[in-house]
Amino acid sequence: MKEVLVNLAYLISASLFIFGLKNLSHPRTAVRGNMIGALGMLVAVLVTLLDRRIVDITTIIVGLTTGAVVGTVLALRVQMTAMPQLVAVFNGLGGGASALVAGTALYESLSGGGEPGFWFTASVVASGIIGAVTFFGSGVAFGKLQGIIKERPIRYSGEQVVKAVVFGLALFAGLLLIKNPDRTALYWVMILFSSVLGVLLTIAIGGADMPVVIALLNSYSGLAASATGFVLENSALIISGSLVGASGMILTNLMCKAMNRSLLNVLFGGFGEVVSTEEDIYEGKVKATSPEEVALILETARRVVIVPGYGMAVAQAQYAVRDLYNLLESRGVEVEFGIHPVAGRMPGHMNVLLAEVDIPYDKMKELEEINPTFEQTDVVIVIGANDVVNPLANTDPKSPIAGMPVLEVWKAKTVVVIKRSLSPGFAGVPNPLFAMDNTLMLFMDAKKAVQEIVNALKESS
């Protein structure tokens, strides 16, 4: 009887997760959605504490308190610019926890004296592999985002073979474990190979492809939880895990579409090698400008679009951008933001940074919305973005970024590009935008540049 009640409670919490996610995907209900999700989690935790198997409450209190303190500090103290790293860490911890729980379940089942069944061990294997890949993959992603590991993709000849072999070894260890569940060392061998696989998979991926990777790891963390649900025969875990798996896949898919590339191409493709021949498309055509000149142009503008990229995050320029936005708005200029889906290092990265400085979210326009408006725009200010405003995507079918939807900023009257140098973006291709007649280059640090434009504007009035 009691077990029925427990399972009913798990059903309630799974339903709350579904409601929560539904609400979380609409702007007006998102806050409530998150709370509903948290409530679902609370129900699940409380009902689990009533489980008769739980005899040692001290360990639980130690674990819960430590985790809650660390989690709270991380969540409240993180800078918004460091959000991609934090999401990577949380993804990794979720995956790691799932793998460990599956491992413990294996030990527990063996100490009970029984012979673990085929499906049980198979689920342990699935959970272990996905969990370890998620944990170490997220670790590398964190390292890259934090600047501890080189952001450029690390590629070498025969790398796909190496990955296939390592995956094969992990799978082989898993199959052996399924045949001999009492040889627990095999579990750790499997975890070891899966961990190496997680590192190899992510180390080969460059910074600008991070949005895809983060979304994918998000999906994996869900699938790992789901696999653990099979191990524990707990449908709450299975349902919640697959919901998260689905949500991560939706985001992964959106990110891939925004780059016009398949997931396989992002994970294994040769993107990020510098293919540029550096033929001089810039020679004699690039016009450098000064903050004062930009201020002068802005004086007469009626419509301005700001296009932020990862450079804005790196330079922490969002506060300066807010000042510029406020100043222009107070003078009756219409200002909007054009945001490319893969700008930054995780899905929605630019939106979070702009929201942090109180830019209303109806001013942040999507690609499809903003593109038709460039022709009526007086000035576009590109801040630390490159590949997402590259006209080659539309014109050169041989370019690595061919077919990628881009922000067609060159249709505006004047384009100001704030960038420290002419160096190519992540895709390694030069950007003809920089050499166009209506483009002015402002070679400066993004934050300093915007601040000086603001100052020049204030002085002239």
Binding site: V55, L86, V101, A215, G241
Partner: protein
């Protein structure tokens, strides 16, 4: 085996529910959706609670405790940071 097929059914149906429920997410919500969903994947905390709190070998308990700490960071941190982020999104009054 019977159970496995039943759980597989639950898994597949829940995937479909996920794809149906999360439709047309506006880009503004990409990050909060991701971190909120991630907090939900911390549901593995349920397994970690049982692993660390039940009669177990020392090794299993240690693993369980690590899992519990990981999962709790994931859950608490995930929901909190999502809440904090969502608080920043507002319309112009």
């Amino acid at each position: 085996m019977d159970n496995f097929v039943m759980y597989l059914t639950v898994f597949v149906l829940a995937m479909f529910v996920g794809f149906e429920v999360i439709t047309k997410v506006p880009p503004t919500l990409h990050t909060p959706l991701m971190s909120g969903a991630n907090a939900i994947s911390g549901i593995t905390i349920v397994g970690a609670l049982i692993a660390s709190g039940s009669e177990n070998t020392f090794l299993a308990k240690v693993l369980g405790l690590i899992a519990l700490i990981f999962a709790t960071i994931n859950v608490v941190g995930g929901f909190l940071v999502t809440h904090r982020m969502l608080g920043m999104f507002r319309r112009k009054e």
